[in-house]
């Protein structure tokens, strides 16, 4: 340890005159002189397994077996699935089932749970989607110039299915139907099974199919990066602002002015319908954004 310290100060002072440390020192500080990438390359290229590596893999396997075993052992203690006397069947789920419609005015209890009882969690979840999309943008978004664009397009024309008549006509028939179905699932989220997450995924799939059949250019006419940013930001902002009004009134026990409507009607259940639309937009944009970024590093 102390030898290392002395070498450390020495190494620094000798480094000014000659930037080459002596061979012995390189061997000694093999690990620390290298950057992360160099170490990674070393690991990948020189796959010599020394005794430590063997020891390490054996220990890793043993550890994994112990962890898996103890987790399985834990599961054997847990209450059996579907038993009505389980701890999870308590007043909470009872209230959700018995008073859910009265409280939230949503026939679909799941929508009532995620967008009214536990709306703060769902705000977090939609933000997670937004962050994931932003992280992929940071990682993959390439600022291409026009020239690069054209060159790439030429290159890709060989492989793309742009001029495939079967695909184009098929897509022309299917895409509107899928899109309408997705919108239906979102808008009826509070009445029937479905909601923002599932409907958004359906709409995203429709746009991806359209993009596959008709190419990037015609997609970007109605779905450019600018539009993507505008609608995803306004959807999330609407969610945050409208829901913070309801959080505020809830916590302060003020009467909320948002009308609840008659359960079962399309315009009912207060904020659940607009929030479902917001979540649907966020999910749809994120799906298409992921596809587009991984495909051509752009939206």
């Amino acid at each position: 340890m102390f030898e290392g310290l002395i070498n450390f100060v020495d190494g620094v002072s000798s480094a000014d005159n000659t930037h080459k440390p002596s061979k012995k020192k390189v061997k000694k500080y093999h690990h620390h002189e290298k950057t992360i990438t160099e170490r990674l390359e070393d690991d990948v290229l020189n796959q010599k397994s020394d005794s430590f590596d063997k020891f390490y893999s054996v220990v890793a396997i043993i550890m994994a077996i112990i962890i898996i075993g103890s987790l399985l052992f834990t599961v054997s203690f847990l209450p059996s699935f579907g038993d009505p006397t389980n701890p999870a069947n308590n007043i909470v789920s009872e209230k959700y089932i018995v008073e859910g419609v009265k409280d939230t005015h949503a026939i679909n209890l799941v929508a009532g749970m995620i967008l009214d009882y536990r709306a703060f969690d769902t705000l977090g979840e939609s933000t997670v989607l937004f962050i994931a999309a932003s992280a992929v943008i940071i990682l993959l978004f390439a600022n291409k110039t026009k020239k690069e664009h054209e060159a790439e397009e030429k290159e890709e024309q060989k492989y793309e299915n742009k001029n495939d008549p079967i695909l184009r006509h098929g897509a022309l028939l299917i895409v509107p139907a899928i899109l309408v179905y997705g919108i239906y699932v979102v808008l009826n989220g509070h009445i029937s099974p479905g909601g923002g997450f599932s409907g958004g995924a359906i709409m995203g799939a429709a746009i991806i199919l359209y993009n596959l059949a008709f190419g990037d250019k015609s997609t970007s006419e109605f779905f450019s990066f600018k539009i993507y940013k505008r609608i995803i930001i306004s959807a999330l902002m609407f969610y945050a602002i409208s829901k913070s009004y309801s959080f505020y009134t809830g916590a302060n026990q003020i009467h909320s002015i948002i009308p609840k409507g008659v359960p079962g009607n399309i315009l009912s259940s207060g904020l659940i319908l607009p929030l479902n639309i917001c979540v649907g937009i966020v999910v749809c944009c994120t799906m298409f954004g992921f596809y587009s970024l991984f495909d051509r590093e752009e939206i």
């Binding site: 992360i36 389980n86 909470v92 009214d116 940071i138 959080f247 505020y248």
Partner: protein
């Protein structure tokens, strides 16, 4: 009807989220203004909320919606939470100010607004972890925290950061996964997600002795999960890469705040989900105590052999996190208070060191190896003095903040006889080891070389935000050193409201 101040914690969380989302649409400079304005507002609101909590002397439960505890989400805050939020918003503001110059240099121009986006959302998630009273909300914000902190590492251009981010992401997801498994088992045996209700059922289960093994497993999963995410010793391997390669203010925020958010969540689960009696009887604190001591020594030994300034500071974080777990592991109220004081002190010291490392890299053409940094402090004497103060505080010289933490850790160990000897020895060894790497680092930085004959106090084109932030950090360091007893009193009062 609540009073106005009781709304502030909720306003802080929502405001940080909304401004973060808004940053995606703004130009970098405007995003920067929005981010800084948000942090200033957050600081003021948290301070007012803290004042309110001290005045009233009681905690507040805030419904997130129209439904009370077992049915809807809620947040809960007392002195401790608002104190941490106040401190963290100040640290966040100062770290971002201190590294502002490097952000505009290190990050690709079209992606600079994403840096501020990620910082704001990261801050929102840390606030939510501090305030939440609901385990699943905690998990959602742990997810946000993971993704945003990986993104701010990744934002710096270069291959090095990508490798570091991949490692960080894998380890971090492992931690969240363990945490999620723990939550689902806990839900299965209690049927609740809100902390007060879980505690009731857990106490009932412990009284009857049912589900003993799953309960121990849950404590184990939570501790390991949060340990991985807060770089407790055997799970620390991702930390030096991630913190050593990110841009300086990102490193500052990651080591100053992100690690602490998880530790606070763990402490909160000990107090509010299991209750201290079950934690004491489960002996998890023994393990955390041992791991804390190992972290304190081995983290420092690793730092000694490091040739790279930022990686050395990053390894020093491993050792400092060890102090926090040592305090938790001592297992009495004063130990917990000392651990929380260390959370604040380290949050105020480490960002200062990382930002100062950035300032040294500026005068050494962006290099961070020690051999290129010889004499860097003479080219920027202001940064040199700031670094010296930070280093002395880390070593634990009296008058500086680090000393007061060690003092209270020692005091709390004296109250718990079986752990006195080990804790005191560990504190002494760790102090010596800290000195062994910080003092040579100072010697190298201040060494006279050929091109540093003349000492320059502040280089040309001074980085005003960095200077301001460093001065505030230094003042905060002395405040913690001088008035530590006040903060300890405040934290103990807060812990009383915490459970």
């Amino acid at each position: 009807m609540l009073s106005l101040e009781q709304n502030f914690p909720f306003v802080c969380i929502i405001l940080s989220m909304a401004t973060g989302i808004l940053c995606a649409a703004l130009k970098p400079k405007k995003a920067m203004v929005v981010c800084i304005a948000n942090l200033v507002i957050n600081f003021i609101l948290s301070l007012l909320a803290l004042r309110y909590c001290i005045k009233v002397g009681d905690f507040t439960v805030y419904w997130m919606g129209h439904f009370p505890a077992p049915f809807g989400n809620e947040i809960r805050f007392g002195i401790l939470e608002t104190l941490l939020a106040t401190g963290f918003s100040l640290v966040m503001l100062l770290s971002i100010l201190g590294g502002l110059k490097h952000v505009f240099h290190d990050v690709d121009e079209s992606k600079q607004n994403y840096y501020f986006l990620m910082q704001n959302l990261l801050f929102a998630s840390i606030l939510a972890l501090i305030y939440t009273n609901d385990l699943f909300t905690a998990y959602v914000f742990v997810e946000i925290n993971t993704l945003t902190s990986c993104s701010i590492v990744m934002l710096k251009k270069g291959r090095e950061t990508l490798v570091a981010t991949t490692r960080y992401l894998i380890m971090s997801l492992l931690g969240s996964g363990l945490f999620l498994i723990g939550i689902s088992i806990l839900y299965d045996i209690t049927g609740h997600l809100l902390m007060p209700q879980i505690k009731e059922s857990v106490e009932a289960l412990a009284a009857t002795g049912a589900y003993k093994f799953p309960l121990e497993m849950i404590i184990c999963l939570f501790s390991i999960g949060m340990g991985v995410k807060s770089a407790l010793y055997p799970f620390h391997s991702w930390l030096p890469d991630a913190h050593g390669s990110a841009t300086s203010s990102a490193s500052a925020v990651l080591s100053g705040l992100v690690l602490k958010g998880y530790i606070i969540l763990l402490i909160k689960m000990f107090y509010r989900v299991f209750g201290l009696e079950i934690i004491y009887s489960s002996r998890v604190l023994d393990i955390l105590f041992v791991l804390g001591i190992l972290a304190m020594t081995i983290g420092s030994i690793k730092a000694i052999s490091e040739r790279d300034l930022k990686r050395m500071i990053a390894y020093s974080s491993v050792a400092q996190i060890g102090y926090i777990y040592l305090g938790i592991g001592i297992g009495n109220e004063l130990g917990m208070a000392a651990a929380l004081l260390q959370v604040l002190v380290h949050a105020f010291t480490k960002p200062m060191l990382f930002n100062t490392a950035g300032a040294f890299m500026d005068v050494a053409d962006g290099k961070k190896k020690f051999k290129y940094l010889a004499g860097a402090a003479r080219k920027n004497m202001f940064a040199g003095i700031v670094f010296a103060i930070g280093a002395l505080s880390m070593i634990g010289i009296p008058l500086f903040a680090g000393f007061s933490v060690k003092y209270y850790l020692g005091l709390s160990a004296l109250e718990n006889a079986p752990r006195v000897v080990l804790s005191i020895i560990a504190l002494i060894i760790s102090t010596v080891l800290n000195a062994i790497y910080y003092i040579p680092a100072l010697m190298v930085l201040f060494r006279k070389t050929e091109d540093t004959e003349k000492v320059v106090f502040i280089p040309k084109n001074p980085d005003i935000p960095y200077i301001i932030s460093s001065i505030v950090f230094v003042i905060a360091n002395f405040v913690f050193g001088k008035f530590a007893s006040y903060f300890i009193d405040l934290i103990i009062k807060g812990l009383g409201m915490f459970a």
